[in-house]
């Protein structure tokens, strides 16, 4: 009886999904397909693209200058991820051990910067890092340095900026897995005679590994694409893949080459995402939202 009554409504409700199907296909799928097509096309002499199939764009990426950019980006990503692990893992781990009423507040404090424009947060670092800025003044007042460090527009400034933007992801991931952990296992290990370090290494670390891994993926992927951090805190000195794509697109107007670079970055990104999903078995992004 139930089914008969429900039938009429159920059959029609799928119509509601049509706008989403339409929008997604036209404005997400098609543009992405076009990106692939574009990456195999030829650049016109003056402006635009000629529909002539070529592999040249991908061959160009192999030129030493561009390979260097990829290497710089990956190095930067590794360094940033390393720093994020060092700062974020203990944070997430300690956070899980806080008393419940503190946990919620600290969580909130960690997530708020995540929603505030990274651009604005970067701007705060400009104020701190620039010549004769806050950092220079404090260090000089403490007589740690004699003359301004002028950290703005240097490599360390970019690293700090990226670590700063990406840290919440790591904290969140590590915290979620440390939170779910059964702490009695650690106690059991201690009771059985393991030292603190041993107990951490054999129990805690292994059990929080999925969180750590997902944190690594969530840091590593974006750190290759964050072009505006390198742009704002690095001046024009540090060229990452993101900056190269932007430059090719806006200044050189070599769209097919920019498309080829994007495809390579996209493939790298998807490979890491796939890894992330298989490692943590999280299929949706819902956990993050």
């Amino acid at each position: 009886m139930k089914r008969a009554k429900r039938g009429a409504f159920r059959e029609k409700r799928w119509i509601l999904a049509l706008p989403m199907y339409g929008f997604t296909i036209v404005f997400v799928a098609c543009p992405l397909i076009y990106l692939f097509v574009l990456s195999f096309q030829t650049r016109a002499d003056i402006w635009g693209v000629i529909p002539e199939a070529t592999l040249e764009n991908y061959r160009d990426i192999l030129e030493p200058v561009y390979i260097k950019t990829f290497v710089t980006s990956i190095q930067m990503a590794l360094l940033v991820t390393g720093c994020v692990i060092l700062a974020g893992y203990p944070f997430g781990y300690f956070m899980a051990k806080l008393p419940p009423r503190w946990k919620k507040n600290v969580m909130m404090l960690v997530m708020i910067p995540f929603w505030i424009s990274a651009l604005i947060r970067m701007y705060g670092w400009i104020i701190i890092f620039r010549a004769n800025g806050i950092l220079d003044r404090v260090l000089m007042a403490l007589h740690l340095i004699d003359k301004p460090l002028k950290l703005l527009y240097t490599y360390p400034a970019v690293v700090v900026g990226m670590v700063y933007v990406l840290l919440p992801f790591m904290i969140y991931s590590v915290y979620s897995s440390a939170e779910k952990m059964d702490w009695t296992l650690v106690e059991a290990a201690r009771d059985l005679g393991a030292s603190k370090v041993q107990a951490f290494w054999t129990v805690t670390f292994r059990l929080t590994l999925p969180g750590l891994l997902s944190g690594i993926i969530l840091t590593f992927i974006p750190s290759m694409g964050l072009f505006f951090v390198a742009d704002i805190l690095g001046g024009n000195k540090i060229l990452l893949i993101g900056n190269l794509i932007q430059e090719q697109l806006m200044k050189s107007r070599n769209w097919p080459f920019a498309a080829a670079l994007s495809v390579v970055l996209l493939i790298l990104t998807s490979a890491f995402l796939w890894l992330y999903q298989t490692v943590t078995r999280v299929r949706d992004l819902e956990g993050l939202l």
Binding site: P113, R121, A259
Partner: protein
């Protein structure tokens, strides 16, 4: 076992470091000195200057229109999508769901470039329309995922009861489903609005020569250096985002509590 103080000290220090840059922006926006290297006195004049800068007000207007339209578009597409998807059980569903979340998964710069080249392919003139389409694309996932999660947690017997009592499909939607998913729609929409209000990377690629949004103006000026006006502007944007997130959180919590109470009653 003696409790170590190190964890709480570590957490406190890192949290302070996280908020320090934002605090500096706020403090310096109240500084009277133009060079903002030293503190010369309290002043609200930079905020007053913001209010008189027509370029900025134009940017603010554009940002609000853009945020409003893309948020509305995403709310309609995402909510309807989540409702309809519930009733679809084939392969296309997973493909479309996956594709629709891509805009918040792929690096922003790629999304920006993808839209820019595609709009030029189909001959759409860059401007407000293209901005709205691009922003709607990355706002849809926020709405879709939130509403979907809410629908999964919803008790289907409520809708069935309404139907058994003779309510038509519209009546059921209006009286039962919509009130239940409204908090999810609201909190998703507010987050989407906040994201749209903050976006600069994607906007740079899909905007025309004349349509500037607020973050784009900030970005351009930021590359030229530090001015007290940007300090004030950033402080305002910081405050607005913070407020939106807190409201969204509050609405979200409200719905959670509401849902629990409802299921307890049952």
């Amino acid at each position: 076992m003696k409790k170590s103080k190190i964890p709480s000290i570590y957490i406190t220090i890192l949290l302070i470091l996280m908020y320090l840059p934002m605090v500096f922006i706020m403090v310096y926006s109240l500084n009277e000195n133009k060079l903002s290297t030293s503190w010369t006195g309290f002043s609200l004049k930079w905020y007053k200057m913001l209010w008189e800068d027509e370029n900025l007000l134009e940017g603010l207007k554009n940002s609000l229109i853009l945020g409003g339209l893309s948020c509305l578009g995403a709310a309609v597409i995402g909510t309807a999508g989540a409702l309809g998807m519930q009733k679809i059980q084939n392969r296309s569903k997973r493909v479309v769901e996956y594709l629709s979340t891509l805009p918040i998964m792929v690096p922003e710069i790629i999304l920006g470039m993808v839209f820019m080249t595609f709009f030029s392919l189909i001959g759409l003139k860059l401007g407000m329309l293209t901005l709205v389409i691009a922003h709607t694309a990355f706002c849809v996932p926020y709405l879709f995922l939130q509403v979907k999660a809410r629908l999964v947690g919803m008790d289907p017997s409520l809708e069935e009861a309404a139907r058994d009592l003779g309510a038509g499909p519209f009546r059921v939607f209006w009286d039962i489903t919509l009130p239940l998913i409204a908090p999810a729609i609201c909190s998703g929409a507010i987050l989407a609005f906040a994201m749209s209000l903050d976006d600069v990377v994607i906007s740079i690629f899909v905007t025309g020569a004349v349509t500037n949004t607020l973050p784009m103006i900030i970005y351009t000026q930021m590359k030229l250096g530090v001015t007290p006006e940007i300090n004030a502007l950033c402080t305002v944007m910081l405050g607005v985002t913070l407020l939106l997130v807190l409201i969204s959180n509050w609405v979200g919590n409200l719905s959670g509590r509401d849902g629990r109470r409802r299921s307890q009653k049952k």
